[in-house]
């Protein structure tokens, strides 16, 4: 993994969903080796923010320094093919990202015993472990994780924390949206509540498509 040239810095970012501003005036920097946890109640815009950072949707305003090519995004869905085995699923992503080797990922998320099992025959937690192992084969420095520990049991959560720590130690950085405790006390926390988008009357931004109509 090549260490990131710079940090992932966000300036005056505003993000929208369904044409409505959701978060605004976001400004934070994610340095290599650091973990940042996004907190906010349901519907506060965590998923929207992560998708914007990953380059899947354009920001409403503001700047993101890190190019999408340095970012690996893990969403609510795991992107697994039900009829491929665990090994085939991982190998595919390794090839797509040009890293090739899946050994570290398999050991990291404790998937050795399941390598030949088709993804459709995994339990919810096993699927999730496979989805997280995918991050390890991307070889990218910034990880954006959306509720990564859903369905994981206590042991797997610890395993996950371990994987995150070694990623940080190798110069990576992670941004995690979650509601539960991840066993990462060293991580900083970013609360999204103060960044909730205000109505335009109160000084908030216009939505993407309605500025012409308001």
């Amino acid at each position: 993994m090549t260490p990131p040239a710079a940090a992932l810095a966000v300036t005056d970012l505003a993000v929208s969903r369904g044409g409505l501003p959701v978060l605004e005036r976001l400004r934070f920097t994610l340095h290599p080796g650091r973990a940042l946890i996004l907190r906010g109640p349901n519907g506060s815009g965590k998923t929207t923010l992560l998708r914007t950072l990953a380059g899947l949707q354009p920001p409403l305003a503001g700047f993101i320094t890190a190019p999408p090519e340095t970012i690996a995004y893990a969403s609510h869905a795991d992107g697994l093919k039900a009829t491929l085995t665990v090994a085939e699923n991982l190998a595919f992503w390794a090839q797509i990202f040009g890293t090739g080797d899946i050994g570290a990922a398999v050991d990291g998320m404790n998937l050795r015993g399941l390598l030949d099992r088709q993804a459709q025959n995994l339990s919810a937690g096993q699927k999730r472990r496979l989805g997280l192992a995918r991050l390890l084969v991307t070889g990218r420095p910034f990880w954006l994780l959306d509720e990564p520990t859903i369905s994981l049991d206590v042991a797997s959560v610890a395993l996950f924390a371990e994987v995150v720590r070694s990623h940080l130690a190798a110069g990576g950085a992670v941004l995690i949206a979650t509601h539960i405790d991840l066993g990462l006390p060293e991580a900083e926390v970013l609360d999204l509540a103060p960044h909730r988008a205000r109505a335009p009357a109160a000084g908030g931004l216009m939505g993407a498509f309605d500025e012409a109509f308001l």
Partner: protein
């Protein structure tokens, strides 16, 4: 990128014989038409070129919605969009995989089905040639339609509506090529036009498809 192509092929094979199924549909449409129209050989050989092409087109069409739908549902498409390969490449590979699993087997099987439709003897080579030339265009155009409708619930029929008008030129020239070939007439014009459509679609449409995909993902 090859990895994506190989994975799609593997998925097609795993999922209960991906190759056989497109073919199966082609076969069944060709069987149904005589069942509906009735058994007279002369009528059948009259309509054979047209019906064979329409059947091939429908067989292609039916497998279109799965080009992106499955990848979208399970989140793979988001991941592919952020992967270090251009979306144009993804789209091309998807179209190629679709052709290999649908258009290619259709082309190879078409003589057998032409038999059922009573196609006149000289038409056989032209039928295969026209399908070999035309089905890539069907896959590429279909991929574009699939990219437009990805993420829409019940996109399947909407997709058909969008794509079928786009298929019209390919269909007309393809069927015309077979008809003239079967009747022993000059085939150069429809041949060149068909080849031109395929080349043009393969060269340009991937950009449109990738753009549509990008819009649909955000």
């Amino acid at each position: 990128m090859i990895a994506l192509f190989l994975r799609d092929l593997r998925l097609a094979i795993r999922a209960g014989g991906g190759f056989g199924l497109g073919l199966g549909f082609f076969l069944i449409v060709v069987v149904l038409v005589p069942l509906g129209v009735g058994p007279e050989g002369r009528t059948l050989s009259l309509i054979a070129p047209g019906i064979l092409w329409v059947a091939a087109l429908l067989a292609c069409l039916l497998s279109l919605d799965r080009i992106f739908a499955l990848d979208h549902e399970d989140g793979s498409l988001d991941l592919l969009a952020t992967a270090p390969i251009p979306l144009e490449g993804v789209v091309t590979m998807k179209a190629l995989a679709h052709w290999v699993t649908t258009g290619l087997p259709l082309t190879l099987a078409s003589p057998v089905l032409a038999l059922l439709m009573n196609l006149p003897g000289p038409g056989y080579p032209w039928l295969m040639l026209s399908l070999a030339l035309g089905t890539p265009a069907l896959s590429v155009i279909g991929t574009f339609g699939a990219a437009l409708t990805v993420g829409l619930k019940r996109g399947g029929l909407l997709l058909s509506l969008l794509v079928l008008p786009l298929y019209v030129p390919t269909l007309i020239f393809g069927a015309e090529l077979v008809k003239r070939g079967a009747a022993g007439q000059a085939v150069a014009t429809p041949f060149l036009l068909l080849a031109g459509i395929t080349a043009g679609a393969a060269a340009l449409l991937p950009f449109a498809s990738a753009a549509a995909l990008r819009v649909n993902l955000r």
